[in-house]
């Protein structure tokens, strides 16, 4: 009798635990909701670009709602990791692998814009006079603001490396200072790019040169803004004691994204700014 009761107690306790180290996620509304918000955003963009009424409104609404669902989904992940103990070593490994795959997909997006750029520039078509840059286009001096921007991005990469190691070493003041400097350098980069964009003598509508220039640097600039927000949120979470030395994937993924952005800029600087100018 005693033996059976012990067995039952043991079973009741064992049923509360899983015999594997993975995370079987609870049901959540965020995936289906984000699919709808992304759909609104995409349709809104198309309607806006074709001149339909309220297309822009739908685009903005879709963007706002997507950001909102991202916030809720990511905060759920934070709760699952930091408070529910679901993020074992395997789970963290899987999350990082997933993010690396996402970065690889972003690399392919940039490959497509670089392809378009090289297709147009290596053999300039007869319609633009067979020259690159086309006649009438005055390209930006690569050894002016673009060079400064290169130093800004490389330095922000150095500062965030400093910050990441300071975080692991438990040096709070160094961590906060270096993450702050990273964000400052990133914002200054964006500001200089904005100045370049407004001061340039050619626009996106100035032949395929303008199109490929602004498509490539514009896609990169968008990624810089996203990366800056990513790092800034990591910075706020560090200040708020939201992360630990053993579990800070939100910081590490942000750093990986930022290094990716930096490397894309180096390719842009060499191929578009330097090789693509006179």
């Amino acid at each position: 009798m005693q033996h059976n009761k012990t067995n039952l107690n043991l079973q009741l306790i064992k049923n509360k635990y899983q015999s594997h180290t993975y995370h079987l996620v609870d049901q959540s509304p965020w995936p289906i909701l984000i699919s709808w918000t992304l759909f609104f955003m995409a349709i809104g963009a198309v309607l806006y670009m074709h001149g339909y009424n309220n297309g822009g409104l739908l685009l903005n609404l879709g963007f706002f709602l997507t950001s909102a669902v991202m916030y809720f989904w990511l905060s759920d992940i934070h709760i699952e990791g930091s408070f529910l103990g679901n993020h074992t070593k395997e789970v963290k490994n899987g999350l990082m692998i997933g993010f690396i795959l996402f970065v690889i997909s972003e690399v392919f997006a940039f490959i497509s814009v670089f392809w378009a750029y090289f297709h147009s520039s290596i053999v300039p078509s007869v319609e633009i006079g067979g020259y690159w840059p086309p006649l009438g286009i005055v390209p930006l001096n690569p050894f002016s603001i673009p060079l400064l921007n290169t130093f800004l991005l490389l330095s922000s990469g150095a500062f965030i490396t400093y910050g990441h190691h300071a975080f692991i070493a438990g040096k709070r003041v160094f961590t906060i200072n270096s993450f702050f400097m990273t964000v400052v350098l990133a914002v200054v980069f964006t500001l200089f790019q904005y100045i370049e964009y407004t001061d340039s003598s050619f626009s996106i509508a100035d032949s395929v040169f303008g199109t490929t220039f602004y498509a490539s640097t514009g896609l990169h600039g968008f990624h810089v803004i996203v990366g800056t927000i990513f790092i800034f949120i990591g910075f706020l979470r560090i200040i708020n004691y939201n992360v630990t030395k053993q579990g800070h994937l939100g910081i590490e993924t942000g750093i990986l994204y930022w290094h990716f952005v930096d490397i894309v800029w180096l390719f842009l600087f060499i191929a578009v700014y330097f090789w693509g100018s006179n």
Binding site: Y48, M49, G51, G55, G56, E127, I128, G129, P134, L135, G136, I137, N141, F143, S144, I145, L147, L148, F151, L152, L154, S155, A158, F159, T161, Y162, H165, A166, I168, A169, G170, K171, F174, S178, M181, Y194, Y197, T198, D199, S200, S201, F202, S203, I204, A205, D206, S207, V208, K245
Partner: protein
Amino acid sequence: MSFRLLVRRTAPTLRRFSTETPVAGKNAYLANLEAVEHHAAETTELWRKISHYVCLPAIAVCAAWVYNIEMEHKAHLEHEMAENDGHLPAPPAYEYLNVRRKPFPWGPNSLFYNSENLSEE
């Protein structure tokens, strides 16, 4: 039964899967954590030096140089404007420049249009 109680009372509190339980002098997991933290302290110092003594001076030097270039460029543009009664000379009217096969959704000008910089667009 008394023997069992005796064993229970004198058995060492060996919790086999606890990270605090020492094994052969030093717990391997804790030792690893300490090594990581120590290594991170050294690497922090390296990157602190790189960030402060290489990157920041490089930015300062480059900024000074670029400031010179841009001031020169501005003077050149003003000279061109003075020669061209107040505005920049128009770019050649090639059909591949300033293309508008379809208007922008937001109006006639490009998104970063700057009327001071471009001549007549």
